[in-house]
């Protein structure tokens, strides 16, 4: 495999697009024709070859462009990456997890050589080579969490565990679905999830917390979340909402296929060995409606999900104002035929 990374943008001229291969491996999040909250966690074990589940951390054709976009976001707003002082050890844990996983799963792109605590990291796609001393912050250009998450797709948060609760106390958050790390940092599990409607009353967060407190090292889990985004904008932050909010009012039947994106988060949870913290990578995948409808099963199913979704959820996810337009567009691709169970495309 060669270095096949797209030259593309997630802002201004928005040249992002998915190749046919990327469309086929897109993590379509709906395993049935309707949607409601659930804890929906499953073991994060290696999945089908070629799928986004094949490796611990998926590296795809958008890698280099996404890392460039992250650097732009951070230059504009350094508060997107924060770590409370006691979270540095968890940052090292995360660095180790990512470096070891990538070097193991993508040896042609990444190499990690260890001689005791003297480590040598090579990242070919980003043309980075770094010799440093593991657990010695002075040997890296920035903190360990920031260092490694500038080289890893998706957002990352680190949760400290104490008092039978999880506390969000570090994070790299530049591709978020409209939540603010700067505001939420330091909150407990129920506090940072407080704005989510319905799920609290359903007991979703009580069950999820109970489950996560017992998460074991070496047994990561995963789940999906999703929302809708106009234009392939990774940085849908509340901070920048006045900049991207107006685009929601510019969708038309003619441009919706190209500009409306389904935004899927593949969320994984990993217990970290030294700090006992939990790492929470939130990997964002975007797909244009016009790309998604090339998979007939997904087109039929997304039409039904969007058409029948609880308006309160559509409001929270921020697409109620465009829902009718979406349904109208997607209905062209739904002949009413039954869909097969599960999320994989039909062969």
């Amino acid at each position: 495999m060669g270095l096949e990374f797209n030259t593309e943008t997630f802002r201004n001229d928005f040249t992002f697009k998915n190749s046919p291969r990327a469309i086929k491996r897109f993590p379509f999040p709906f395993d049935r024709d309707d949607y409601m909250y659930s804890v929906n966690m499953e073991p994060h074990v290696p999945g089908r070859p070629g799928s986004v589940f094949e490796h611990m951390f998926d590296v795809d054709e958008h890698y280099v462009a996404e890392m460039r976009d992250r650097a732009l976001v951070l230059a504009d707003d350094p508060l997107r990456c924060q770590s409370l002082p006691h979270m540095t050890l968890a940052g090292w844990d995360l660095l180790e997890l990512i470096m070891e996983s990538k070097a193991r799963d993508y040896p042609h792109w990444f190499e990690l050589h260890k001689n005791g605590n003297h480590w040598h990291w090579i990242n070919r796609p980003l043309e980075i080579e770094q010799k440093f001393t593991f657990l010695d912050e002075t040997t890296l250009p920035c903190g360990p969490m920031e260092y490694i998450t500038r080289q890893a797709q998706g957002d990352f948060t680190l949760q400290d565990q104490r008092d039978d609760n999880l506390w969000i106390e570090a994070g790299m958050v530049t591709t978020q679905a409209d939540w603010s790390l700067d505001f939420d940092i330091g909150m407990s599990f129920h506090e940072w999830h407080a704005p989510v409607p319905k799920a609290h009353q359903m007991g979703v967060f009580d069950r999820a917390l109970k489950f996560l407190l017992k998460l074991q090292h070496g047994a990561p889990v995963r789940r999906f979340n999703w929302t809708m985004t106009v234009d392939p904008l990774l940085d849908t932050s509340p901070e920048n909402y006045p900049k991207w909010g107006p685009t929601k009012a510019t969708l038309t039947p003619d441009n919706i296929g190209h500009r409306q994106h389904l935004r899927v988060e593949l969320q994984t949870l990993h217990r970290l060995p030294r700090s006992n913290a939990i790492a929470f990578p939130i990997r964002c995948y975007l797909i244009k409606f016009e790309e998604l409808v090339t998979i007939p099963k997904w087109a039929r199913r997304l039409h039904r999900v969007v058409r029948d979704i609880d308006p309160e959820l559509a409001t929270y996810k921020g697409f109620l104002r465009n829902r009718d337009l979406m349904v109208q567009y997607l209905s062209q691709f739904d002949d009413g035929a039954p869909t097969s169970p599960g999320w994989w495309p039909d062969e």
Partner: protein, 206 residues
């Protein structure tokens, strides 16, 4: 002013109790405005123990955001130390010193507006006191301290929703989402999607 009733809300929104006398080696009260009444009510509840409790008490008091000032009533309790401050900001260094000097067994009582309770609670937590040593009671104005999520500026004493950020001028709606670290509610631009379409301000936090 009687105890405040709060509508049920989301889990990040703080809830407050009712001050109750507790055994302790020392007692620190921080109150503003009508919070003085909560302190007086608590001392009354202490009954025969009140003189001993007051002999180990330090009261820091400041007027409420809209001027209510019950200094005379609070001072008349006869606490070992009573300090009237013109504002929370002016009292901050004193509060930090008292917390830094605190020994095990200090009981903390915060009473008054959410802003006062939130700001004082932040100092108490940063000083490393155990949460179970702190009691809170809301009295007085419901006005809010709100952080603009866009420019990060904090607007004090917000009574209407929406309101204009005192720093960047954006029209913000006030969420119940609350950060203890910032001691503020979150304000989000209300007309981001449809610039200029700002609903009339309603007095929600009197």
């Amino acid at each position: 002013m009687t105890k405040t009733f709060f509508e049920p809300s989301i889990r990040s929104r703080p809830v407050y109790g009712e001050l109750t006398p507790r055994a302790g080696r020392a007692h620190l009260f921080v109150a503003d405005g009508e919070g003085a009444e909560a302190v007086c009510d608590m001392i009354a509840k202490a009954g025969a123990d009140a003189p001993a409790l007051l002999a180990r008490s330090h009261i820091i008091y400041m007027p409420g955001p809209f001027g209510s000032d019950l200094t005379a009533r609070l001072q008349a309790l006869g606490a070992a130390q009573f300090h009237r401050s013109p504002s929370f900001g002016a009292a901050q260094s004193r509060l930090r010193k008292v917390l830094a000097d605190a020994h095990m067994g200090l009981q903390v009582y915060l009473a008054g507006t959410e802003t006062l309770i939130g700001l004082a609670m932040r100092e108490v937590m940063e000083a490393g006191l155990p949460p179970e040593a702190v009691q809170t009671e809301h009295r007085g104005s419901l006005s809010r301290r709100v952080q603009c999520v866009h420019c990060k500026g904090i607007t004090e004493n917000v009574t209407t929703d929406p309101f204009a950020c005192s720093h960047c001028g954006l029209n913000l709606f006030v969420r119940d989402h609350y950060s203890r670290r910032i001691a503020a509610f979150q304000g989000v631009n209300i007309d981001a999607e449809d610039p200029g379409q700002v609903p009339a301000a309603v007095e929600r936090f009197k």
